[in-house]
Homo-oligomer: 164 residues x 2
Amino acid sequence: MRQELFIKMVLDAWNVRLARMDKMLAELSDEQLQKEIAPGKNTGAYLLGHLAGINNRMLVLLEMGEELTPGLYETFVEKAEKEIIERPSVSQLRAEWTKINAELEKKFALMQPGAWFEKHTAVSQEDFAKEPHRNKLNLVINRTNHLDYHLGQLILLKQGAGAN
Amino acid sequence: MRQELFIKMVLDAWNVRLARMDKMLAELSDEQLQKEIAPGKNTGAYLLGHLAGINNRMLVLLEMGEELTPGLYETFVEKAEKEIIERPSVSQLRAEWTKINAELEKKFALMQPGAWFEKHTAVSQEDFAKEPHRNKLNLVINRTNHLDYHLGQLILLKQGAGAN
């Protein structure tokens, strides 16, 4: 019972931020997304690719299948923006974001509660035996924070908005 | 056992972001903090006051006592930056941040595991009966995300850093 309660707490927090990101994307034009969030910093389009790449890789880390679009992580997470030579268009990135999150949502719905407390694929059996908090649910906690971190940056692209 | 594990997952995530914020504050000068995170947006000093005000109010929401410094929430959370008439200096805000977090740490250490699953003071008994996920631990999950959101903005004040 309490186990189900804290799975809900974690997934609610995740879903709230995904919904905020979707709302942000609906409000920002492709032109706005192509702007830098602050002078000399990343563009909104890069951050969208970055977040799509992170979520795409979550499918693997959570043992929910293969990445839907190979290469996003390598382009938008492993590379800094100025190192990228060829990149998808903003509309392609928007489509990736939507597709990847639909897949995550589908897989999340199929998870048995106890499975959230199993290790994710980036931690070894040995480390997990010593550090059982490094489970799948914990990965979602950390990805939720990471998403909010970049939401705080993307909002700067909105005209006339404060920083909150 | 699983309850303790889950509390650790949530508090670890919180403590990691607090440590990142402390590191960021150590790396930014008062002058840097007085700058806007992006043209026309909030200053770093405002965000420091904002985060200190949020943490200060957590003491009340989690039934851990009174606010240490009344007024921070009213100044830095309820007011937008341009509405503030009188504000503490950056060095005062740094001291508030440190003092408030020391108090939170002390109180967190005294919490019984089961108490984290009790309601916080911003939710009514009636609502909590229907929505038991709105507990004290959930408040920490949300405050952790909020902290990361603003960390994503404060890093923009660092010279030469990317947006990540």
